[in-house]
């Protein structure tokens, strides 16, 4: 099947089931504001959203779009990544449920399973996520292991055919409703720190797993802390070799980083349209300083998008794997700058709530953007990665 045939089939599938989506309103005062970069909901809303996403995932699966790049022996369509991107770009035109609750599972966790898991593990854990029966989450970061992920301290201790896990994870997305966690643990405290790690699949209903919402600076909670207390796992839940956890994690993260950006293009473009409308309605559109700033921002965003498309066009095989960190750096910077531009245009309405549509909540955009400069690799970590892995600059001297 070539891309054109695939696209035709996908479109047919979508047209038959969902309405074509109108663009989010860029008119001031109409529709959802949609200005919070991090989704903040109550537990009940979250559960409802997750159920809707699962239902749509089941529909995808039933029609061959549930696992486009997945291995055929596990029910996947076995197509290249470009087909997956194509499907997503088509689906984005339709009014399907928000699939964010499944993103980490279908992206990072499934990717890790396919790269590092046994056929049994893939069948038991990855396929159910694609079939819309299970939701994954990621348990990597810890309070003392943020940028330095290899510094995780959550302990995994072998006890015969089982493992006992103890520790604390943070910044878990979807933690409250996920079924399966991908947990990086330290199983050898003697080995050099990158070698003493092992990855586990943690069914989130296992006794000893406790999830608490983490309040972020906007006041809401988009993430959780996950406490693992004497969690006992069968050895069958170990993903990859004992001591190979670092490689499994790196691989998983590369998959995650690849997905970043695509999904933000629409929201940044809409943000710029909203700001243009606001400037026009408030007599600022003729101000050369505003025009210059808006145009400069537009250029940054368009170029970041081209950059992303060019990297996608170049193809994995010609890249070192670290290039996609560029998308992340550009995205985080651009989100911050959009927030700053909004503050410049809105003035006092940015910091105090007049009740007018789409004004005060811009501050949530800016506050959220500060998280994007940190989450998924800080700007500093990513730039160091680009310098070392793309440009080949020498690694820093390490203290003995």
């Amino acid at each position: 099947m070539n891309e054109q045939e695939f696209a035709d089939r996908a479109e047919e599938f979508l047209v038959a089931r969902v309405a074509r989506r109108g663009p989010m309103s860029t008119e001031w005062g109409h529709g959802e504001e949609g200005l919070a970069l991090f989704h903040e909901t109550t537990d009940a809303q979250e559960r409802a959203e997750a159920d809707a996403a699962l239902a749509w995932q089941r529909e995808r699966w039933a029609n061959g779009f549930g696992w486009i790049t997945g291995p055929a022996e596990h029910g996947g369509a076995g197509l290249p990544a470009s087909f997956d991107r194509l499907y997503r770009s088509l689906e984005a035109q339709f009014d399907v449920p928000d699939m964010n609750p499944l993103r980490i599972g279908l992206g990072t966790v499934s990717h890790a399973l396919v790269s590092s898991g046994t056929p049994e593990q893939i069948a038991a854990h990855a396929a159910p996520m694609h079939r819309g029966e299970s939701i994954g989450c990621q348990l990597f970061s810890e309070p003392d292991a943020g940028s330095d992920l290899a510094g995780v301290r959550t302990r995994g201790v072998r006890e015969g055919d089982q493992w006992r896990i103890n520790g604390q994870k943070v910044w878990t997305s979807n933690g409250t409703f996920a079924d399966l966690g991908l947990a990086l643990t330290r199983t050898d405290t003697e080995a050099p720190k990158h070698r003493g790690l092992t990855m586990f699949l943690v069914p989130m209903r296992t006794p000893g797993v406790e999830v608490r919402p983490l309040r972020q600076l906007t006041g809401g909670a988009s993430f959780c802390e996950t406490f693992l207390t004497d969690v006992v796992l069968d050895d069958a839940l170990r993903l990859g070799e004992e001591g190979a956890g670092w490689a499994v994690a790196t691989n998983a993260l590369a998959g995650e980083r690849r997905a970043v950006g695509d999904r933000f293009h629409e929201s940044t473009a809409r943000a710029m349209a909203l700001l243009r409308t606001y400037a026009q309605q408030h007599g600022q559109a003729a101000d050369p300083v505003v025009r210059d700033a808006w145009a400069a921002m537009h250029i940054r965003l368009a170029v970041a998008r081209f950059q992303q498309q060019r990297m996608q066009a170049i193809g994995e095989e010609s890249l070192s794997g670290a290039e996609r960190a560029m998308d992340k750096v550009l995205l985080a910077t651009n989100q911050k700058l959009i927030g700053d531009l909004a503050a410049q245009l809105l003035g006092p309405a940015f910091v105090a709530d007049t009740g007018a549509w789409g004004t005060f909540n811009w501050n949530r955009w800016l506050m959220g953007s500060m998280g994007y400069r940190i989450a998924g690799g800080t700007e500093e970590i990513l730039k160091t990665m680009l310098a070392e892995r793309v440009l080949g600059l020498p690694r820093e001297a390490k203290k003995a």
Binding site: A145, D148, L217, G347, P348, V351, A352, T354, I374, T378
Partner: protein, 378 residues
């Protein structure tokens, strides 16, 4: 012959050093982070007991007010020292509103009777006053005001809506700029006398409240010259900008300290993150911003105390510079803290929110650069 300046700029007297120490000690005790967080959640946004101690024990509200109106007659630099410390501590109190904005608006109006009536109360803390200028447009220029006051009952009746008014909902006395037939004028309104609806607005920075005030033929008293609000308002805003610049410099210095302390103890990759050059250079850039902001803020303070005609230029300069420096430092502080800096529990975000809000208060940096360009004649 060249006169060598006898009170050189930037040299703090022993009294000023002592004042700073006193205020810092007081705020450490009375405005720790727990208190700041408690008051953030209240509508009134300040602790009356602390407010009274500030007035009666330390004499802060009356510090720079003339002695004949119950104040201590200190200089503006002294006030800046107090504000720098309040900025460090994120003190939740209507100090800027009552002492800087409202008191100076009355004082600069030249209306001796009004001064005698209102300033002693502001000075001893028994009156919280607020200055209401901005409307939906957000403009602080007297000419943009649309609220109207008409003669009534030997005084005035004031009608209109004010928004973004710092602490207006808790003030005992409202100084309102409104338009009489003679032009923009300053009027005093007693919110208890009726005709005023007040509500707190939701704010990004919960440590400084803003309010919406709706006046419906509220009884008002003219202060100063009828139609003459423009000049005293402009002078008051220059002073407020200078005061706010000091507050910003104080907050910026606090987050620099916070970032440096954290960078020294937080370890990643087996070493303190502060040993990484990227973090070092971020901190060095913050240092440059903090020291420069401090210099800019006190440069206008000294000019005010010398009665220099450069005050308007320097006020805009300091406000524009210190705003950007403060916002920059607070954002970098969050970034240096990483994940923990993104949590509600860590105080980093409180400073960022204060910074961003003060950046916009009294006109954003771009507005002040435009003023400066006008004032310097390009």
């Amino acid at each position: 012959m060249t006169a060598v300046d006898s009170s050189p700029m930037f040299v703090f007297s022993a009294e000023q050093v002592a004042l700073r120490a006193t205020v810092r000690r007081f705020l450490a005790e009375r405005s720790p982070e727990t208190e700041v967080r408690r008051l953030m959640e209240t509508d009134t946004g300040h602790d009356p007991a602390v407010w009274n101690l500030m007035a009666n024990q330390l004499g802060l509200q009356g510090l720079t007010l003339p002695e004949k109106f119950g104040g201590s007659g200190f200089g503006f630099v002294d006030l800046q020292i107090v504000l720098e410390e309040m900025g460090r501590a994120l003190l939740c109190a209507p100090f800027l509103s009552s002492v800087v904005l409202a008191a100076n608006a009355v004082l600069r109006s030249g209306d001796e009777a009004a001064c005698a009536q209102y300033l002693p109360g502001i000075s001893d803390g028994s009156t919280i006053a607020a200055l209401a200028v901005t409307e939906t447009s957000g403009s602080w220029r007297a000419d943009d005001v649309t609220a109207e006051a008409v003669a009534a009952d030997g005084g005035y009746a004031l009608t209109g809506e004010k928004v973004f008014v710092p602490d207006g909902h808790v003030a005992d006395l409202l100084l309102v700029v409104a338009r009489t037939p003679a032009g923009p004028s300053l009027l005093a309104v007693d919110p208890a006398a009726g005709g005023v609806q007040r509500e707190a607005m939701g704010t990004l920075d919960a440590t400084r409240k803003q309010s919406r005030l709706v006046f419906d033929a509220a009884p008002a008293r003219l202060i100063g010259e009828d139609g003459g609000a423009a000049r005293p308002l402009s002078e008051t805003l220059d002073l407020a900008a200078a005061a706010l610049a000091a507050e910003q410099a104080g907050g910026a210095r606090r987050v620099l300290e916070m970032a440096v302390e954290y960078a020294k103890v937080r370890e990643q990759f087996g070493r303190p993150i502060g040993s990484f050059q990227a973090i070092k250079h971020k901190c060095a850039d913050m240092l440059l911003a903090v020291e420069s902001a401090t210099s800019a803020a006190y440069a206008v303070g000294w000019a005010i105390d010398e009665g220099s005609n450069e005050v308007p230029v320097l006020a805009s300069l300091a406000k524009a510079f210190c705003s950007e420096a403060y916002t920059h430092c607070t954002a970098e502080n969050i970034q240096i803290h990483g994940g923990i800096g993104f949590t509600w529990e860590h105080p980093a975000h409180l400073y960022f929110k204060r910074a961003k809000s003060t950046e916009i208060l009294f006109g954003n940096p771009r507005f002040h650069r435009a003023l400066l360009a006008d004032r310097l004649g390009i």
